[in-house]
Symmetry: C2
Subunit: 182 residues, 2 copies
Amino acid sequence: MAAALSNNSYAILGMVALRPMSGYDIKAFADETVRHFWAISYGQIYPELKQLEELELVSSEEAAVGGRQRTVYQATTRGREALEAWLSEPVESPMEVRDEMLLRVFFSDHGDPKDRERLLRATVKRHQDAAARLGDHRPKAASHGPSCRLEVLDFGIAFHRFCADWFSKQLRTSEEAGNHAG
Amino acid sequence: MAAALSNNSYAILGMVALRPMSGYDIKAFADETVRHFWAISYGQIYPELKQLEELELVSSEEAAVGGRQRTVYQATTRGREALEAWLSEPVESPMEVRDEMLLRVFFSDHGDPKDRERLLRATVKRHQDAAARLGDHRPKAASHGPSCRLEVLDFGIAFHRFCADWFSKQLRTSEEAGNHAG
DNA sequence: ATTATCATGTAAATGGTTACATGATTGG
DNA sequence: CCAATCATGTAACCATTTACATGATAAT
Protein backbone atom coordinates (compact mmCIF):
# COMPACT_ATOMS: atom_id res chain seq x y z
CA MET A 1 0.00 0.00 0.00
CA ALA A 2 1.41 3.32 -1.06
CA ALA A 3 1.60 6.23 1.35
CA ALA A 4 -1.62 8.18 1.64
CA LEU A 5 -1.76 11.35 -0.37
CA SER A 6 -0.76 14.53 1.41
CA ASN A 7 -2.22 17.97 0.84
CA ASN A 8 0.84 18.58 -1.26
CA SER A 9 -0.13 15.71 -3.51
CA TYR A 10 -3.53 17.28 -4.02
CA ALA A 11 -2.00 20.70 -4.62
CA ILE A 12 -0.01 19.24 -7.51
CA LEU A 13 -2.84 17.03 -8.69
CA GLY A 14 -5.12 20.05 -8.71
CA MET A 15 -2.69 22.00 -10.84
CA VAL A 16 -2.48 19.36 -13.55
CA ALA A 17 -6.27 19.01 -13.41
CA LEU A 18 -6.55 22.63 -14.55
CA ARG A 19 -4.47 22.01 -17.63
CA PRO A 20 -1.50 19.86 -18.70
CA MET A 21 1.69 21.12 -17.11
CA SER A 22 5.33 20.19 -16.69
CA GLY A 23 7.02 20.26 -13.29
CA TYR A 24 8.54 23.54 -14.26
CA ASP A 25 5.13 24.93 -15.22
CA ILE A 26 3.68 23.81 -11.91
CA LYS A 27 6.38 25.64 -9.99
CA ALA A 28 5.87 28.83 -12.01
CA PHE A 29 2.08 28.63 -11.73
CA ALA A 30 2.20 27.88 -8.01
CA ASP A 31 4.53 30.82 -7.43
CA GLU A 32 2.07 33.24 -8.94
CA THR A 33 -1.10 31.73 -7.47
CA VAL A 34 -0.90 29.65 -4.28
CA ARG A 35 2.51 30.86 -3.08
CA HIS A 36 0.96 33.23 -0.52
CA PHE A 37 -0.68 30.38 1.40
CA TRP A 38 0.88 27.21 0.00
CA ALA A 39 4.53 27.31 -1.09
CA ILE A 40 5.86 24.44 -3.23
CA SER A 41 9.45 23.69 -4.22
CA TYR A 42 10.98 21.52 -6.95
CA GLY A 43 12.10 19.12 -4.27
CA GLN A 44 8.44 18.29 -3.71
CA ILE A 45 7.09 18.59 -7.23
CA TYR A 46 9.19 16.09 -9.19
CA PRO A 47 9.06 13.19 -6.72
CA GLU A 48 5.34 13.84 -6.20
CA LEU A 49 4.56 13.74 -9.91
CA LYS A 50 6.22 10.33 -10.09
CA GLN A 51 4.21 9.05 -7.16
CA LEU A 52 0.97 10.36 -8.66
CA GLU A 53 1.81 8.67 -11.94
CA GLU A 54 2.47 5.36 -10.20
CA LEU A 55 -0.96 5.66 -8.61
CA GLU A 56 -2.37 6.45 -12.06
CA LEU A 57 -3.84 9.73 -10.88
CA VAL A 58 -1.83 11.58 -13.51
CA SER A 59 -0.46 10.56 -16.88
CA SER A 60 2.65 11.90 -18.54
CA GLU A 61 3.60 12.65 -22.10
CA GLU A 62 6.98 13.50 -23.58
CA ALA A 63 6.80 16.92 -25.18
CA ALA A 64 10.41 17.78 -25.89
CA VAL A 65 10.98 20.95 -27.91
CA GLY A 66 14.11 20.31 -29.94
CA GLY A 67 16.69 18.84 -27.62
CA ARG A 68 15.07 20.50 -24.61
CA GLN A 69 13.50 17.90 -22.40
CA ARG A 70 9.92 18.39 -21.31
CA THR A 71 7.44 16.04 -19.67
CA VAL A 72 3.86 17.23 -19.48
CA TYR A 73 1.47 15.77 -16.93
CA GLN A 74 -2.29 15.79 -16.78
CA ALA A 75 -4.86 14.43 -14.37
CA THR A 76 -6.50 11.13 -15.28
CA THR A 77 -10.18 10.40 -14.64
CA ARG A 78 -9.17 8.60 -11.46
CA GLY A 79 -7.10 11.64 -10.55
CA ARG A 80 -10.10 13.93 -10.95
CA GLU A 81 -12.19 11.60 -8.84
CA ALA A 82 -9.51 11.60 -6.12
CA LEU A 83 -9.46 15.38 -6.23
CA GLU A 84 -13.23 15.55 -5.91
CA ALA A 85 -13.14 13.13 -2.98
CA TRP A 86 -10.50 15.25 -1.26
CA LEU A 87 -12.67 18.34 -1.71
CA SER A 88 -15.54 16.60 0.05
CA GLU A 89 -13.46 15.58 3.08
CA PRO A 90 -13.33 17.77 6.16
CA VAL A 91 -10.28 19.97 6.53
CA GLU A 92 -7.76 18.61 9.02
CA SER A 93 -5.05 21.12 9.70
CA PRO A 94 -5.68 24.69 10.82
CA MET A 95 -4.19 27.74 9.12
CA GLU A 96 -0.58 28.04 10.20
CA VAL A 97 1.19 31.36 10.23
CA ARG A 98 4.86 32.03 10.92
CA ASP A 99 5.75 35.69 11.03
CA GLU A 100 9.08 37.02 12.22
CA MET A 101 7.72 40.55 12.23
CA LEU A 102 4.91 39.77 14.66
CA LEU A 103 7.40 37.94 16.86
CA ARG A 104 9.51 41.08 17.03
CA VAL A 105 6.53 43.33 17.60
CA PHE A 106 5.53 41.04 20.44
CA PHE A 107 8.84 41.73 22.20
CA SER A 108 9.36 45.23 20.85
CA ASP A 109 9.08 47.03 24.19
CA HIS A 110 12.35 45.33 25.14
CA GLY A 111 14.10 47.50 22.57
CA ASP A 112 14.42 51.08 21.39
CA PRO A 113 11.08 52.78 20.55
CA LYS A 114 12.74 54.03 17.35
CA ASP A 115 13.44 50.43 16.36
CA ARG A 116 9.85 49.59 17.09
CA GLU A 117 8.62 52.29 14.74
CA ARG A 118 11.06 51.20 12.08
CA LEU A 119 9.74 47.68 12.49
CA LEU A 120 6.13 48.79 12.15
CA ARG A 121 6.99 50.86 9.08
CA ALA A 122 8.73 47.86 7.52
CA THR A 123 5.72 45.68 8.33
CA VAL A 124 3.33 48.11 6.67
CA LYS A 125 5.53 48.28 3.61
CA ARG A 126 5.87 44.51 3.34
CA HIS A 127 2.13 44.01 3.36
CA GLN A 128 1.59 46.83 0.89
CA ASP A 129 4.18 45.30 -1.42
CA ALA A 130 2.63 41.86 -1.03
CA ALA A 131 -0.80 43.27 -1.93
CA ALA A 132 0.67 45.07 -4.92
CA ARG A 133 2.49 41.96 -6.16
CA LEU A 134 -0.70 39.94 -5.96
CA GLY A 135 -2.55 42.78 -7.66
CA ASP A 136 -0.17 42.49 -10.61
CA HIS A 137 -1.49 39.00 -11.27
CA ARG A 138 -5.10 40.04 -11.06
CA PRO A 139 -5.74 41.06 -14.69
CA LYS A 140 -4.47 37.68 -15.88
CA ALA A 141 -6.49 35.79 -13.27
CA ALA A 142 -9.62 37.82 -14.04
CA SER A 143 -9.34 37.39 -17.80
CA HIS A 144 -11.14 34.04 -17.66
CA GLY A 145 -14.02 35.45 -15.65
CA PRO A 146 -14.84 34.74 -12.00
CA SER A 147 -13.27 31.61 -10.52
CA CYS A 148 -11.99 30.11 -7.32
CA ARG A 149 -8.53 31.18 -8.39
CA LEU A 150 -9.60 34.80 -8.62
CA GLU A 151 -11.50 34.52 -5.37
CA VAL A 152 -8.45 33.31 -3.50
CA LEU A 153 -6.28 35.95 -5.14
CA ASP A 154 -8.70 38.66 -4.04
CA PHE A 155 -8.61 37.26 -0.54
CA GLY A 156 -4.83 37.53 -0.57
CA ILE A 157 -4.96 41.13 -1.71
CA ALA A 158 -7.61 42.04 0.87
CA PHE A 159 -5.70 40.19 3.55
CA HIS A 160 -2.44 42.04 2.97
CA ARG A 161 -4.27 45.36 2.71
CA PHE A 162 -5.94 44.62 6.01
CA CYS A 163 -2.57 43.92 7.63
CA ALA A 164 -1.02 47.04 6.13
CA ASP A 165 -3.89 49.18 7.40
CA TRP A 166 -3.85 47.65 10.84
CA PHE A 167 -0.12 48.19 11.41
CA SER A 168 -0.36 51.61 9.82
CA LYS A 169 -2.83 52.56 12.53
CA GLN A 170 -0.55 51.16 15.24
CA LEU A 171 2.32 53.17 13.82
CA ARG A 172 0.34 56.42 13.98
CA THR A 173 -0.66 55.73 17.58
CA SER A 174 2.96 54.96 18.38
CA GLU A 175 4.20 58.16 16.73
CA GLU A 176 1.65 60.32 18.51
CA ALA A 177 2.59 58.83 21.86
CA GLY A 178 6.25 59.47 21.02
CA ASN A 179 5.55 63.14 20.15
CA HIS A 180 3.74 63.75 23.42
CA ALA A 181 6.50 62.08 25.40
CA GLY A 182 9.39 63.73 23.49
CA MET B 1 32.04 29.32 17.29
CA ALA B 2 28.49 28.49 18.32
CA ALA B 3 25.69 28.50 15.77
CA ALA B 4 24.12 31.90 15.27
CA LEU B 5 20.90 32.43 17.12
CA SER B 6 17.72 31.71 15.23
CA ASN B 7 14.43 33.54 15.56
CA ASN B 8 13.42 30.66 17.75
CA SER B 9 16.26 31.41 20.11
CA TYR B 10 15.04 34.98 20.40
CA ALA B 11 11.46 33.85 20.90
CA ILE B 12 12.55 31.84 23.93
CA LEU B 13 15.02 34.45 25.11
CA GLY B 14 12.27 37.05 24.89
CA MET B 15 9.96 34.93 27.03
CA VAL B 16 12.44 34.55 29.87
CA ALA B 17 13.21 38.27 29.60
CA LEU B 18 9.60 38.99 30.54
CA ARG B 19 9.85 36.98 33.75
CA PRO B 20 11.61 33.85 35.01
CA MET B 21 10.09 30.74 33.49
CA SER B 22 10.64 27.02 33.23
CA GLY B 23 10.54 25.21 29.91
CA TYR B 24 7.06 24.08 30.78
CA ASP B 25 6.01 27.66 31.55
CA ILE B 26 7.44 28.83 28.24
CA LYS B 27 5.41 26.28 26.34
CA ALA B 28 2.19 27.21 28.17
CA PHE B 29 2.82 30.94 27.79
CA ALA B 30 3.72 30.59 24.10
CA ASP B 31 0.58 28.56 23.47
CA GLU B 32 -1.64 31.33 24.77
CA THR B 33 0.27 34.25 23.26
CA VAL B 34 2.45 33.68 20.17
CA ARG B 35 0.92 30.39 19.05
CA HIS B 36 -1.13 32.07 16.31
CA PHE B 37 1.96 33.32 14.47
CA TRP B 38 4.89 31.47 16.09
CA ALA B 39 4.33 27.92 17.31
CA ILE B 40 6.94 26.38 19.63
CA SER B 41 7.25 22.77 20.78
CA TYR B 42 9.13 21.14 23.67
CA GLY B 43 11.52 19.66 21.15
CA GLN B 44 12.74 23.17 20.49
CA ILE B 45 12.44 24.69 23.96
CA TYR B 46 14.59 22.43 26.12
CA PRO B 47 17.59 22.15 23.79
CA GLU B 48 17.38 25.88 23.07
CA LEU B 49 17.40 26.80 26.76
CA LYS B 50 20.60 24.80 27.17
CA GLN B 51 22.22 26.54 24.24
CA LEU B 52 21.21 29.96 25.55
CA GLU B 53 22.66 29.08 28.92
CA GLU B 54 25.95 28.01 27.38
CA LEU B 55 26.10 31.37 25.64
CA GLU B 56 25.31 32.99 28.99
CA LEU B 57 22.27 34.75 27.61
CA VAL B 58 20.08 33.08 30.20
CA SER B 59 20.81 31.74 33.67
CA SER B 60 19.06 28.86 35.37
CA GLU B 61 18.06 28.15 38.92
CA GLU B 62 16.78 24.95 40.47
CA ALA B 63 13.35 25.54 41.92
CA ALA B 64 12.06 22.08 42.71
CA VAL B 65 8.77 21.93 44.61
CA GLY B 66 8.99 18.85 46.80
CA GLY B 67 10.27 16.02 44.63
CA ARG B 68 8.94 17.68 41.52
CA GLN B 69 11.75 18.88 39.34
CA ARG B 70 11.71 22.46 38.11
CA THR B 71 14.38 24.60 36.48
CA VAL B 72 13.61 28.27 36.10
CA TYR B 73 15.43 30.38 33.54
CA GLN B 74 15.81 34.12 33.26
CA ALA B 75 17.56 36.43 30.82
CA THR B 76 20.97 37.75 31.82
CA THR B 77 22.13 41.31 31.10
CA ARG B 78 23.93 39.97 28.03
CA GLY B 79 20.74 38.21 27.08
CA ARG B 80 18.78 41.43 27.23
CA GLU B 81 21.42 43.18 25.15
CA ALA B 82 21.24 40.42 22.55
CA LEU B 83 17.46 40.76 22.47
CA GLU B 84 17.72 44.50 22.00
CA ALA B 85 20.25 44.05 19.19
CA TRP B 86 17.93 41.56 17.49
CA LEU B 87 15.07 44.05 17.69
CA SER B 88 17.18 46.66 15.88
CA GLU B 89 18.09 44.34 13.01
CA PRO B 90 16.05 44.31 9.82
CA VAL B 91 13.55 41.49 9.47
CA GLU B 92 14.75 38.73 7.18
CA SER B 93 11.98 36.29 6.46
CA PRO B 94 8.56 37.21 5.14
CA MET B 95 5.32 36.14 6.75
CA GLU B 96 4.66 32.54 5.80
CA VAL B 97 1.15 31.12 5.69
CA ARG B 98 0.13 27.52 5.14
CA ASP B 99 -3.60 27.02 4.90
CA GLU B 100 -5.24 23.80 3.80
CA MET B 101 -8.60 25.53 3.56
CA LEU B 102 -7.43 28.11 1.07
CA LEU B 103 -5.78 25.35 -0.94
CA ARG B 104 -9.14 23.58 -1.16
CA VAL B 105 -11.03 26.75 -1.94
CA PHE B 106 -8.52 27.37 -4.73
CA PHE B 107 -9.49 24.08 -6.38
CA SER B 108 -13.08 23.99 -5.18
CA ASP B 109 -14.70 24.30 -8.60
CA HIS B 110 -13.35 20.82 -9.34
CA GLY B 111 -15.78 19.45 -6.81
CA ASP B 112 -19.42 19.56 -5.77
CA PRO B 113 -20.79 23.09 -5.13
CA LYS B 114 -22.34 21.71 -1.93
CA ASP B 115 -18.86 20.69 -0.74
CA ARG B 116 -17.62 24.12 -1.60
CA GLU B 117 -20.26 25.74 0.58
CA ARG B 118 -19.56 23.34 3.38
CA LEU B 119 -15.89 24.24 3.08
CA LEU B 120 -16.63 27.96 3.21
CA ARG B 121 -18.88 27.49 6.22
CA ALA B 122 -16.16 25.51 7.99
CA THR B 123 -13.64 28.23 7.15
CA VAL B 124 -15.85 30.94 8.60
CA LYS B 125 -16.39 28.90 11.74
CA ARG B 126 -12.69 28.20 12.20
CA HIS B 127 -11.81 31.86 12.03
CA GLN B 128 -14.65 32.81 14.35
CA ASP B 129 -13.50 30.18 16.83
CA ALA B 130 -9.90 31.33 16.54
CA ALA B 131 -10.96 34.93 17.22
CA ALA B 132 -13.05 33.79 20.20
CA ARG B 133 -10.20 31.72 21.66
CA LEU B 134 -7.84 34.66 21.40
CA GLY B 135 -10.53 36.88 22.89
CA ASP B 136 -10.63 34.61 25.94
CA HIS B 137 -7.04 35.58 26.71
CA ARG B 138 -7.68 39.28 26.31
CA PRO B 139 -8.78 40.16 29.86
CA LYS B 140 -5.62 38.60 31.26
CA ALA B 141 -3.42 40.30 28.67
CA ALA B 142 -5.13 43.65 29.20
CA SER B 143 -4.89 43.50 32.99
CA HIS B 144 -1.37 44.93 32.94
CA GLY B 145 -2.39 47.87 30.74
CA PRO B 146 -1.43 48.42 27.11
CA SER B 147 1.58 46.46 25.84
CA CYS B 148 3.06 44.89 22.77
CA ARG B 149 1.57 41.61 23.93
CA LEU B 150 -1.90 43.07 23.94
CA GLU B 151 -1.29 44.79 20.64
CA VAL B 152 -0.33 41.54 18.95
CA LEU B 153 -3.26 39.74 20.54
CA ASP B 154 -5.64 42.39 19.22
CA PHE B 155 -4.12 42.00 15.81
CA GLY B 156 -4.78 38.29 15.96
CA ILE B 157 -8.40 38.83 16.94
CA ALA B 158 -8.91 41.45 14.22
CA PHE B 159 -7.17 39.24 11.69
CA HIS B 160 -9.38 36.21 12.33
CA ARG B 161 -12.50 38.38 12.36
CA PHE B 162 -11.45 39.82 9.04
CA CYS B 163 -11.03 36.33 7.59
CA ALA B 164 -14.35 35.17 9.01
CA ASP B 165 -16.13 38.19 7.51
CA TRP B 166 -14.46 37.82 4.16
CA PHE B 167 -15.37 34.17 3.73
CA SER B 168 -18.81 34.82 5.12
CA LYS B 169 -19.38 37.26 2.29
CA GLN B 170 -18.13 34.71 -0.25
CA LEU B 171 -20.48 32.15 1.18
CA ARG B 172 -23.48 34.45 0.80
CA THR B 173 -22.53 35.20 -2.81
CA SER B 174 -22.14 31.49 -3.41
CA GLU B 175 -25.50 30.67 -1.87
CA GLU B 176 -27.32 33.36 -3.85
CA ALA B 177 -25.77 32.11 -7.10
CA GLY B 178 -26.86 28.59 -6.14
CA ASN B 179 -30.46 29.70 -5.50
CA HIS B 180 -30.73 31.41 -8.87
CA ALA B 181 -29.29 28.40 -10.68
CA GLY B 182 -31.31 25.79 -8.79
C1' DA C 1 -7.48 4.86 43.18
C1' DT C 2 -7.39 7.44 39.27
C1' DT C 3 -7.02 11.22 36.33
C1' DA C 4 -5.14 15.61 35.29
C1' DT C 5 -1.44 18.47 35.53
C1' DC C 6 3.36 19.71 36.36
C1' DA C 7 7.82 18.88 34.63
C1' DT C 8 11.91 17.51 31.68
C1' DG C 9 13.74 15.47 28.01
C1' DT C 10 14.88 13.07 23.46
C1' DA C 11 14.72 9.97 19.20
C1' DA C 12 12.55 9.40 15.19
C1' DA C 13 9.87 11.00 11.73
C1' DT C 14 8.05 14.51 8.84
C1' DG C 15 7.94 18.31 5.87
C1' DG C 16 10.15 21.42 3.33
C1' DT C 17 14.03 24.33 1.35
C1' DT C 18 18.50 25.03 -0.62
C1' DA C 19 22.01 24.20 -3.32
C1' DC C 20 23.75 21.99 -6.73
C1' DA C 21 24.38 19.25 -11.19
C1' DT C 22 23.21 19.01 -15.92
C1' DG C 23 22.11 20.62 -20.31
C1' DA C 24 19.23 22.88 -24.14
C1' DT C 25 17.34 27.24 -26.14
C1' DT C 26 16.40 32.06 -26.73
C1' DG C 27 17.33 36.90 -26.87
C1' DG C 28 20.37 40.63 -26.72
C1' DC D 1 29.31 35.16 -26.93
C1' DC D 2 26.80 35.72 -22.73
C1' DA D 3 22.97 35.94 -19.80
C1' DA D 4 18.49 34.57 -18.99
C1' DT D 5 15.26 31.16 -19.14
C1' DC D 6 13.51 26.52 -19.81
C1' DA D 7 13.75 22.06 -17.85
C1' DT D 8 14.61 17.98 -14.70
C1' DG D 9 16.26 16.08 -10.84
C1' DT D 10 18.32 14.95 -6.18
C1' DA D 11 21.19 14.97 -1.87
C1' DA D 12 21.98 17.37 2.00
C1' DC D 13 20.28 20.13 5.14
C1' DC D 14 17.19 22.47 8.24
C1' DA D 15 13.21 23.17 11.12
C1' DT D 16 9.65 21.38 13.48
C1' DT D 17 6.40 17.96 15.31
C1' DT D 18 5.19 13.65 17.33
C1' DA D 19 5.53 10.22 20.23
C1' DC D 20 7.34 8.42 23.84
C1' DA D 21 9.77 7.78 28.47
C1' DT D 22 9.92 9.11 33.18
C1' DG D 23 8.20 10.52 37.43
C1' DA D 24 6.15 13.79 40.96
C1' DT D 25 1.99 16.19 42.81
C1' DA D 26 -2.81 17.82 43.08
C1' DA D 27 -7.50 17.15 42.66
C1' DT D 28 -11.60 14.24 42.57
